[in-house]
């Protein structure tokens, strides 16, 4: 396997971060920690926004979000992702798309 740092990829992108107002939230963190054994969001998010912590918790930082919708759709069992678009003008701003 080739080591890849997603941060290095995201660094090339342009964002206007809506500080303190994440557009995606985990509805019930306890569900991720206790119920969810698979935590696919921590593997399949193409921007690596979700991190599996050692204690079973999942943390979410939306700053690098590409607004694709993967996490929302992939969370089929618990529907534990509250997903909105960022406020107008905020979030990813594709230079090329």
């Amino acid at each position: 396997m080739i080591p890849v740092k997603v941060e290095e990829k995201l660094f090339q992108n342009r964002y206007r971060v809506d500080a303190g107002r994440p557009h995606i939230n985990i509805i019930d963190p306890g569900t991720c920690q206790v119920e969810c054994k698979t935590q696919e969001c921590t593997i399949c998010c193409p921007a690596g926004c979700y991190t599996a912590e050692g204690n079973g918790q999942v943390t979410l930082i939306t700053d690098g979000c590409l607004e694709c919708g993967t996490c929302r759709i992939i969370c089929t069992t618990y529907r534990n992702v509250d997903w909105e678009y960022p406020r107008g003008g905020y979030g990813i701003l594709f230079k090329f798309g």
Partner: protein
């Protein structure tokens, strides 16, 4: 803003722009709302532009649209770990104007398209997210935005809000997407001097190559990779069904990185400067996964309506065509002074049924299911085909007849005679 419009279009991608342009051109009062800083800033595509769909809306688009290269060569690769078997179609006919397809860079292209929409008379508001549809019982009468006092009203709202289509979901017009109905694609754009691209791909100025790839690069998932030549950049990406990503627990950017390291791909992108990394969902559920497309005061166009032909990698052309049909339906009703009821807007469905759009989606309606259940098409066969080519092309003193026998045996060992026949039948069923 208590102003009332004839139509509100949510989104400024290909479907929204096609709809807004067609409506404005016919003299209707149109408001278009885009959440990005500028049209294109939230939009992602490979991207190939098929001329026909745009030509029918803006016949002279070639005069000033930002087009990268016209495609003269299409390659199809089937990859194993260290090799590929490929086919190439290149034709001088593709070098004759008017060109049939182009590579484009969406941020630039969408900006251009939007300029045309505004010139036609539509009012565009950017940096504004539509948060909800405003309903009067079952009828959509306007939209709520995240601007202060941001409610606006119209006779009809066209939802061109893209694959996630949150608005239609919130309103209950369609259910949440399922992982099996969407592909997740990731891609990068790499910049290289124009001359380097031309010599590397054996093309002249303005000419382009498209490479589609299947096989080991998707690591057993149903999907494909692609490499497109732009003017002074290359787009490289890979997309697979989200259900496969979920099941096999594969990280998309790792998949892309592995693909870029393939010995046949690496030299093609060598030395390029990566300037953007993007991800996007593609609605590939096909005909069987399509939602209701219209109702009282609303219509759905483009990706939000699952208008993608995954087999032929067509999406933006269907988006533009459905946007145009939706607009034409509204124009017809306006002329006849008929209200925008579900009953009247059903004409949109009729237009779609009569056109290539629904015909092509119906034709491939079994395809997603067949490929979902038979991943040997993405794993076993690419490997076998590559091994067969290797066996035949290696000169090692073994006669060709024996080699042929070995190849036949390898196919039968891996899939059994019954399996091979079944696969042939499934392929026929998928494409019939």
């Amino acid at each position: 803003m208590d102003e009332k419009f004839d139509a509100i279009v949510v989104g400024a991608g290909p479907s929204g722009n096609a709809a807004a342009y067609t409506l404005a051109k016919a003299g209707l009062k149109v408001l278009q709302i885009e959440r990005g800083e500028y049209p294109g800033s939230k939009n992602v595509q490979g991207a190939i532009l098929y001329s026909k769909a745009l030509e029918e809306i803006i016949p002279d688009f070639r005069d000033d649209a930002p087009l990268e290269r016209h495609v003269i060569e299409q390659q199809m690769w089937v990859l194993d770990d260290a090799s590929y078997v490929g086919s190439t179609y290149r034709s001088a006919e593709f070098n004759q104007e008017p060109f049939n397809r182009y590579t484009i860079v969406r941020a630039q292209f969408d900006k251009w398209f939007s300029k045309r929409v505004q010139d036609a008379g539509a009012l565009l508001v950017c940096e504004t997210t539509v948060t909800n549809l405003i309903m009067d019982r079952d009828r959509v009468i306007g939209v709520q935005t995240d601007r202060e006092g941001g409610s606006v009203y119209a006779d009809v709202v066209i939802l061109a809000d893209g694959v996630n289509s949150l608005l239609a979901k919130k309103a209950g017009f369609h259910a949440e997407l399922e992982p099996k109905d969407v592909a997740l694609a990731v891609k990068e754009i790499h910049f290289l001097p124009e001359e380097t691209i031309q010599s590397r791909f054996n093309i002249g100025e303005g000419e382009g190559v498209v490479i589609e790839m299947a096989g080991k690069i998707t690591q057993g998932m149903m999907g494909t990779g692609f490499l497109y030549t732009n003017k002074d950049s290359l787009t490289i990406g890979v997309g697979c069904m989200l259900s496969d990503f979920k099941q096999q627990k594969i990280t998309p950017y790792m998949l892309l990185e592995q693909m870029k390291a393939h010995p046949a791909i690496k030299p093609l992108i060598d030395g390029g400067e990566m300037k953007e990394y993007t991800a996007h969902l593609i609605p590939e559920g096909g005909y069987k996964a399509m939602p209701q497309l219209y109702g009282d005061g609303w219509m759905i166009v483009g990706d939000s309506g699952m208008f993608v032909n995954a087999v032929h990698r067509e999406g933006s052309n269907l988006a533009m065509t459905t946007g145009r049909y939706a607009a034409e339906t509204i124009i017809d009703l306006k002329e006849k002074k008929l209200p925008m009821t579900a009953r009247n807007l059903a004409l949109y469905q009729g237009r779609l049924e009569d056109s290539f759009v629904m015909k092509v989606l119906k034709k491939y309606k079994n395809m997603p299911e067949i490929f979902h259940k038979n991943n040997q098409f993405f794993t076993t066969y690419p490997e076998l085909v590559n091994r067969a080519a290797h066996t035949m092309l290696t000169v090692d003193g073994v006669d060709k007849k024996t080699k042929e026998r070995e190849i036949r045996k390898s196919f039968k060992q891996r899939r059994s005679l019954f399996g091979l026949m079944g696969d042939a039948f499934k392929m026929w069923r998928a494409f019939e």
